[in-house]
Amino acid sequence: MAENNAPILQMKGVSKRFVKELDTAEKAARFFGSSIEEQIVHAVDGVDLAVQKGEVLGLVGESGCGKSTLGRMVAGLTTPSEGSIRFYGEDIASLKGDAARRAALQIQLVFQDPMSSLNPRLRVGEIVGEAPRVHKVVPRKDVDSYVDETLERVGLDPAMRKRYPHQFSGGQRARIGIARALAVNPSFIVCDESVAALDVSIQAQILNLFMRLREELDLTYLFISHDLGVVEHISDRIAVMYLGRVVEMGDAQALFAEPNHPYTQALLAELPTFEVKRRTYSTIKGEIPSPLNPPAGCHFHPRCPHAFARCSTERPRLTEIAPGRFSACHLNEQA
């Protein structure tokens, strides 16, 4: 994609653990000899990822596998427990003052949950216009027309600018979140399920907008979504996560055409098609894993049809199995 090869964003060994503190009753119980322990959630577990300038990297994986946590770390909203995230070579977590503010503007996160990320007491015009005004993205006198323009871009009627977030439908709120992110002219956007709440026609409109902006403004995206159809459509490369780890990564089309990791294969096998008949859905086979207590070795082994002895003891490394294609599965070393 990009001519120069230094990635705009580089993650090395990034992990995020959440420790669930004991509450008072539990602490007391432990004091009296109970074996209650603090729960540790391994939300993100040793992720290496690089994103090139101008690229769209799709991030897919099951609900709870750590996608949003990874996205929040990239946007600097939470710091890694381990590892580093470099943006233009600078460690995001260590930036201070002006440099930190600049990076925060440059990398915008479109939140998964628009309702909880939009201030309910601000009107939409203020929500979208606040940052451009404060950071002087446009001259003060032009802020209003700039807000209108931005709202129109995401398919919202500028006449709605005086309304509060709760007066919008779910999909309209999602678009307010997108408008707010676009309004500060970022160079890197983390989209967390940004089109999930949108119906297909507006989804198409927003995806087309993302693709157009990427050409016009040279934007780079980390595009988080559970919708494989959408991800395939928009991404250059795709990273597949499973229980906190990246298990496969590569060119979008190649990955879809020939998934290597058994989890990716299982995911693609489930791709919904347009059903003309009513279908019978089936429950998940095998135990659903938990990041509270991930299986040893390859996290996927309890559900993997190809698992063998080594899979339950040794963590498979993410290795390059073909140029630009990475997979973390022991099967690749079997041949």
Binding site: M115, V200, Q203, L267, K277
Partner: protein, 322 residues
Amino acid sequence: MTALLDVRDLKTHFFTRDGIAKAVDGVTFSVERGEILGLVGESGSGKSVTGFSLLGLVDPPGKVVSGEIVFDGADLVAGGEEAIRGLRGKRIAMIFQDPMMTLNPVLKIETQMVETVLAHADVSRTEALTRCREALLRVGISAPDERLASYPHQFSGGMRQRVAIAIALLHEPDLIIADEPTTALDVTIQAQILAEVQKLCAETGTALIWITHDLAVVSGLADRLAVMYAGRIVEEGPTSEIIANPLHPYTRGLIESVPHGKPHRSLLQQIKGMAPSLLNLPEGCSFRPRCPRADDACRRAQTLGTPLPGRHVRCVHPYIEG
């Protein structure tokens, strides 16, 4: 057999400073016991407000201005808040588009779920806890003991959605109104939840209104579809027939904008133009300014016609072959 729910000419309007927003403007549909109705339509078309109206959850400046909502023989509009209060959360449960409308951020999941069980089942706390654990497993949440002891913010977006679904299942209601319940879920977990929902409807006769914009999911789930546009139902009929042969130009546009199977990075088909402002709807058919088939006849008010058996459509130029 009379339907479990019969909605007739329902109108819910918002009286805003800028004018009257007719979010729901003459909606008619019915749902039988055990039946799954898919309510689909563009963002802002009035799907959620329809759901809120059924449960009497429309807040000022909004108001149900007219129509009937007959649930199991009783008119909830005429009966007012009193009639609905006894049903809400008991015989009619709603899974909200925003799970935080169901979940209380300051209470542990355990507290919230156990209360739900105890509210309508005469069981011990231990038994209630067992049911909660089972309900979490049913929606694909593992380690239920640890999860029960957590607060909503410690869950991922999709997990919050699933907890809200689990709570609705715990109610064992006659009717579930599910508002975009699986938008943030990946296909495997979605399939798991759809399986649970299908089982519930088939086994207990629970009826379901599945509100969504995702045609791919609803086409495999719903018996019938109702397609909404700008506060009105523009097409209604059996799911398989609508997907195979959409009659309304809007329905056809919706189906054509689904990205599945389109060439990589090609521009997606989109319905031209923007959804109209509810304050300022075009006269006649509201879809007219965006419709490829529109002509002068579309300026007249459109009524719901039946051009094919069992197929209802609000359009003078439906796509009927021949």
